[in-house]
């Protein structure tokens, strides 16, 4: 349809597809110049470790966002899972691995609860997960009586503190989960249907897809990845803290959106979300290295977030207005 001047569109098309990575690269380069210790293997591993918690929760969040939904309960679910696992492993006397397993299943269970409210209760995801956010946080406080649970054994803390082949265990967990969910999204029918629901739920239903089952899978996975995030943080802290994960849902949403997910649904992916989570992690780490006070860091993070989203919007906007809408409009 448009034959003239192909170079500019190609460049903007490249930027459009890769804006998250370009931003990540720019921030990394910026800190590398400003703080010499930033670009060391040790520090980068620290960044990866710090990004893991947000990244795990953001993976589940991405699925929910692609379907056009959202999961606000991830932070509370992380806390609940960590507390349950620690409590059952220590004072419950079940041992570490049954405790971890039950913690993970509790996360998946909260996801199932979300899905039941959304699919059968027809409650909008925002409202349903807002409710379960309160419920999970409340259950955590009830279970812990608001006090930390300490006394975790080596097998538990292994998942937060040890390394394998020089790479911290949490990063291994993240890698495995990210690869699995990426394959799920890009190679399986379930994955395609997740995108399809975000693009047109009724159309998807009429094509014979069981939309309810797909949503159950999405929210259960989101609950489970949130639980993993909570378990790993508990292992890293050597104790369960009832107040962990406050605000995690916002970081997870930010990571997904920075990674190119559209809150309108139908668009998003795991590689982008990981890059989004790393942008957040790199920012914290770099600002710490530059000794920016933590209160000021919040302001800067917020500004970077806005800049990144606006940049993305402008790149896409140019493309849509110039070429995409033209053939459709009369």
């Amino acid at each position: 349809m448009n034959s003239s001047s192909n170079h500019a569109p190609q460049l903007s098309e490249f930027l459009r597809r890769n804006s998250t990575y370009v931003i990540l690269l720019a921030i990394v380069l910026g800190f590398a110049v400003l703080a010499p210790e930033f670009l060391t293997v040790n520090n980068l591993l620290t960044v990866a470790l710090q990004s893991t918690l947000v990244a795990l929760a953001a993976i589940g969040m991405t699925l929910a966002i692609i379907t056009g939904g959202i999961d606000l309960s991830v932070g509370s679910v992380a806390a609940l899972s960590g507390a349950l696992a620690a409590g059952l492993a220590t004072r419950g006397g079940l041992g570490t691995y049954p405790g971890l397993l039950i913690g993970l299943m509790a996360g998946a269970g909260m996801g199932l609860l979300n899905a039941v409210m959304i699919v059968w209760g027809r409650i909008p995801p925002f409202v349903a997960t807002l409710a379960s956010m309160a419920i999970a946080r409340g259950l955590t406080l009830v279970y812990t009586q608001g006090r930390p649970i300490a006394g975790l054994d080596r097998a538990f803390t292994f998942w937060g503190s040890e390394s394998l082949l020089g790479v911290p265990m949490p990063v291994w967990v993240l890698l495995v989960v990210a690869v699995l969910v990426h394959l799920l999204l890009s190679q399986t029918a379930l994955g395609l249907h997740i995108y399809a629901i975000g693009g047109g739920e009724e159309t998807t239903r009429l094509a014979g897809v069981n939309v309810g089952v797909v949503k159950v899978c999405v929210y259960v996975i989101s609950g489970a990845t949130a639980a993993l995030s909570g378990l790993i943080l508990t292992a890293r802290l050597w104790s369960a803290q009832p107040n962990i994960g406050v605000g995690l849902e916002l970081d997870a949403i930010a990571a997904a959106v920075l990674g190119g997910s559209s809150l309108a649904g139908g668009v998003g992916g795991i590689p982008g979300t990981l890059a989004g989570a790393f942008i957040i992690g790199v920012l914290s780490n770099g600002l710490n290295l530059l000794e920016v006070p933590s209160y000021n860091q919040q302001v800067i993070k917020g500004l970077v977030f806005i800049l990144a989203v606006m940049l993305d919007y402008f790149i896409k906007q140019r493309r849509t207005v110039r070429t995409r809408r033209a053939p459709l409009a009369g």
Binding site: L190, A196, G199, P327
Partner: protein, 504 residues
């Protein structure tokens, strides 16, 4: 045809909704290898009938037979399995997915149960497109396709279910003439392969060109059915509306007044490349051209909905800056947009809300809205436009297309603009309401309004306009008076075989 059992037989089928007998005792047969045109005004029951056949809504009474066997249609999925598909006005494709993914959504070729066999999926999708001679890349995202391409993909999707009965609801409403021809070729080819086709359209020329038989519905009943040769277009219209329509496009000759709006060398992107035009009081200017010629873009520029890159706009002899629709409205310019559902209406809101939305500021005192005056104003206009609605509180979503369009127009009338731009004002509107909208335009012009009407229907352009402008590739390439214009001349100009410098 050799078959002696109809593909589909409806026996005394009825369906009522609260307050309406939508389908009333309809018996109808559709045969393999024929195109049956189903015509009727909006609200005549065509859509409900299709929804019954398609399993979207259950029957109240009556029976449906498929190839002589009684069947129950309890879901669209069931209908699909039986080989019945429906192609809706609003396309049912997912824009974020590719062509291939859309065609096989819900039945992707798999490996090891869960994994999609992408190679096979795209190969099969390609085969489906090739079979129909559709030239659309299978890996392209649907969002990147034109409306016509999407329509073709939708048909390919329907056929990939081995559809034996396809219902098409207003499939050409968004297509250009050439695309329509492609679609017609495809529809005829399907008929020749033995598929049964139900074709719903408001465009009678299409019906007479394409159909083998015509079925006319009115008020939920089937009022006539027979071979196309048995009808004339005028008869069909009479059957549809139940009264004689004196003229398709009533036109009151008007006296052209002084110029109101003058645009000089407007530019914005590729779509509008230096357009100059003048609109006079009391005149209806038809803006013709192919889809993509830049007509809608021009309208949006004049209305301030898009940014002008260069050029001047003058109103009443004064140079004006239009930076937003707000500016345009203040200057007395109104736009009835092409896509009334997403740009013209608040579908979930009442008639009152929709018609009064423009008046809020004008009719408020000290920042408080004067609801009483708004009500009076709206009531008068709604009655004048003869909007058929049970009350002002009716949600606009529940009105027919023609009445919805009248509500959009009524919002502008409440503001009494000097210039009213109408973009495809009668698309998806039934014949009765269409004639009313045309009459209204004529009346408004007679009262001194300047009207710019964009239309892709040449008979409408020729019937309604005092003067006709033709756009092609972002420029106005020809101007005709009402007397000299013909379909041929306009098409030649629109397709680039003719240029006539405009005296702007």
């Amino acid at each position: 045809m050799t078959e002696n059992i109809p593909r589909l037989r409806l026996e005394h089928v009825s369906k009522a909704f609260p307050g309406v007998q939508a389908v009333n005792d309809v018996s109808l047969e559709v045969w393999g290898g024929e195109i049956l045109a189903l015509v009727g005004e909006n609200g005549a029951g065509k859509s409900t009938l299709m929804n019954l056949i398609n399993g979207v809504v259950p029957l109240d009474s009556g029976k449906i037979y498929l190839d002589g066997q009684p069947v129950t249609m309890d879901s669209p999925r069931r209908a699909l399995e039986l080989g019945i598909t429906m192609i809706h006005q609003e396309l049912a494709l997912i824009p974020q997915l590719t062509v291939g993914q859309n065609i096989f959504l819900g039945r992707e070729p798999r490996r090891w149960r869960f994994w999609i066999d992408w190679k096979r999926l795209y190969a099969q999708a390609q085969a489906e497109l090739d079979r129909l001679g559709i030239d659309v890349p299978v890996q392209a995202r649907v969002a990147d396709l034109s409306i016509a391409q999407r329509q073709l993909v939708e048909i390919a999707k329907a056929l990939s279910y081995n559809a034996r009965l396809i219902a098409l609801d207003e499939p050409t409403s968004a297509l250009t003439e050439r695309e329509t021809e492609t679609l017609f070729r495809l529809v005829r080819a399907l008929r020749d392969q033995g598929v049964a086709l139900i074709y719903i359209s408001h465009r009678l020329e299409e019906v007479f060109e394409l159909a083998d038989r015509i079925a006319v519905m009115r008020d939920g009943q089937l009022v006539a059915v027979g071979p196309v040769q048995a009808f004339t277009p005028a008869e069909v219209v009479r059957l549809m509306v139940g009264r004689e329509l004196t003229e398709f496009f009533p036109k009151v000759p008007t006296q052209r007044g002084e110029p109101v709006l003058r645009a000089i060398n407007l530019r914005a992107g590729r779509e509008v490349q230096g357009v100059s035009l003048e609109l006079y009081r009391g005149e209806i200017v038809g803006l013709a051209g192919l889809v993509g010629a830049g007509r809608t873009n021009l309208a949006r520029l004049l209305f301030g909905a898009d940014r002008l890159e260069a050029g001047e706009i003058w109103m009443d002899g004064r140079r004006v800056e239009i930076r937003s629709p707000r500016d345009a409205i203040r200057l007395g310019i109104g736009l009835v947009p092409e896509d009334r559902k997403s740009q013209g209406l608040f579908l979930g809101q009442s008639v009152r809300f929709n018609a009064g939305a423009g008046l809020l500021e004008r009719l408020s005192r000290l920042g408080f809205i004067d609801f009483r005056r708004i009500n009076q104003t709206i009531k008068a206009i709604i009655e004048r436009l003869r909007v058929r609605t049970p009350s002002l509180n009716q949600r606009v979503r529940n009105l027919s297309g023609g009445n919805q369009q009248k509500v959009v127009i009524s919002r502008w009338l409440a503001l009494n603009p000097k210039v009213l731009i109408l973009d495809e004002p009668t698309r998806g509107v039934d014949v009765g309401a269409k004639a009313e909208i045309h009459a209204l335009m004529s009346e408004l012009a007679a009262q001194g309004m300047a009207i710019l009407m964009i239309s892709s229907e040449l008979p409408e352009i020729l019937g309604v306009s005092d003067r006709i402008l033709v756009m092609r590739e972002g420029r106005i390439v020809a101007e005709f008076s009402r007397e000299e214009a013909t379909q041929d001349l306009i098409m030649q100009a629109a397709t680039g075989q003719l240029e006539r410098r405009v005296a702007a």
